[in-house]
């Protein structure tokens, strides 16, 4: 356990000094969005939210060829999967960062699934929900926390 706390101390120090251990391409992270540790982002607007996957996620997936969208009117729950994306012959779950009712899905992704890669935070949005619990957003990461999280994940290999 001493190792774990030293690890935290070291990474806090590293990010305070804004240094990295080795050169690596950083994925884009947008301020003002909230992030889940499963690499989805949420843009909250009152009691509505838009959800998609992050630049880090799309980069690690490869070229997306298919997006399985939920049905409008269905409900999503925080931490539960609501759909999937397919890339490089692999289907990967997409987990909802918040709970709510699906009010709109991005049907553009049916014909152009590559929008998820090209524009993960804008044109590649996946669904819009009416939030059932605004407080849930507080359990998500902000852009700085998420950046650090990505760095730590990428350092695992």
């Amino acid at each position: 356990m001493a190792m774990a706390s030293r690890l935290m101390w070291a990474s806090r120090a590293a990010s305070y000094l804004k240094i990295s251990t080795c050169p690596r391409a950083f994925s884009t992270v947008i301020k003002d969005l909230k992030y889940a540790d499963t690499h989805e982002w949420v843009k909250v607007d009152g009691s509505s939210a838009t959800i998609g996957i992050t630049d880090h996620a799309q980069d690690h997936l490869g070229d997306v060829v298919y997006v399985e969208l939920p049905e409008v009117g269905s409900s999503v729950n925080q931490g539960k999967n609501f759909g999937a994306v397919e890339s490089v012959k692999a289907t990967s779950d997409v987990i909802s960062p918040v709970s709510g009712e699906v009010v709109e899905v991005n049907t553009e992704l049916n014909g152009s699934p590559g929008l998820v890669n090209a524009s993960p935070y804008e044109d590649g949005w996946i669904l819009k929900v009416k939030l059932s619990n605004n407080g849930e957003v507080n359990s998500l990461m902000d852009s700085e926390q998420y950046s650090k999280f990505c760095e730590e994940e990428d350092a695992k290999h």
């Binding site: 590293a14 000094l17 397919e86 890339s87 490089v88 012959k89 994940e153 350092a155």
Partner: protein, 284 residues
């Protein structure tokens, strides 16, 4: 201090600095006279963490297993792995003649009716894996890793690239020069003939399904599909491409598993005969 950090980043004597910092025993929360070495420490700590993870791969070897039974087994193991009840696991087996489809249900690439398929003694199954239609049959090595990608920080792309490299490595043991496909054509090829296929499912960061490597299956079965949705490209097998005699299939299965363990940095392997984890009535 930031000048020192910059110096460290570009220092060629980083290795000696790293070994120096390993000797430190700084209690957490105390002040940091050595802030400049924090970058090196993060790197070391991650490496030590990786080394301390007891990443053992448990391999189960089967003979011919019905597709649905294998699927049920994978679902069970996947759930157990997600719950942290079991370690990373890999299944090695072969299937009776079976056509399978992926999540996108591209059954327009099956050029037979279901009754025609049944008449030839084959089955058709729809799955949640990625990829298009493919054929599995005896003499084709099937490897299903059930591992946590989150534990090693891998995404789909890196995982699939690893699976491709395993098949390429094993092919090379028999003098066959295989390569990954072009962008959008995941799989392993010899020239423009496909020798290995991949179809994976990643759910909550845990993998299932995997790869199919043609040792010497009956390639005629592939005539009835547009394999992986790619027209105008043939399929082949290790038997067709290798100039040397091949060993027993089991040897090749073992080589695939060992290559997997090496590629995904497992420290240890445990081998089991798979019959133990299939209920008696599921073994064919």
């Amino acid at each position: 201090m930031s000048r020192m950090a910059t110096f460290l980043r570009f220092s060629s004597s980083r290795v000696s600095l790293i070994s120096f910092t390993l000797l430190l025993d700084k209690p957490p929360g105390s002040s940091l006279p050595l802030d400049g070495l924090a970058a090196a420490l993060v790197h070391i700590q991650h490496r030590l963490y990786q080394m301390s993870l007891q990443r053992t791969l448990k391999a189960y070897k089967f003979g011919i297993v019905n597709y649905l039974n294998a699927l049920k087994l994978q679902e069970r193991l996947s759930g157990e792995r997600k719950a942290g009840n079991i370690q990373d696991t890999i299944l090695s087996l072969q299937h009776p003649p079976t056509y399978t489809l992926g999540k996108r249900r591209t059954d327009h690439n099956l050029l037979l009716t279901e009754s025609e398929v049944q008449a030839m003694g084959a089955e058709v199954h729809y799955t949640e894996r990625g990829g298009d239609i493919t054929f599995h049959g005896p003499r084709q090595a099937i490897i299903y890793p059930i591992i946590s990608l989150r534990a090693i920080g891998f995404g789909a792309r890196k995982y699939v690239e690893g699976l491709e490299s395993i098949m390429i490595e094993v092919a090379s043991l028999y003098g066959v020069n295989a390569h990954p496909g072009k962008a959008g054509e995941t799989g392993v090829w010899v020239g423009d003939r496909k020798i290995g296929a991949i179809g994976v499912r990643i759910s909550s960061g845990i993998t299932s399904h995997g790869l199919a490597f043609n040792i010497d299956p009956d390639l005629n079965y592939f005539k009835h599909i547009v394999p992986c949705g790619i027209r105008d490209k043939g399929v082949t097998s290790l038997r067709r491409e290798a100039q040397m005699q091949l060993p027993e299939d089991e040897v090749i299965h073992d080589q695939l598993i060992q290559s997997f363990a090496k590629t995904f940095h497992f420290k240890d392997m445990q081998w089991s005969q798979g019959g133990l984890i299939l209920p008696a009535d599921e073994i064919k």
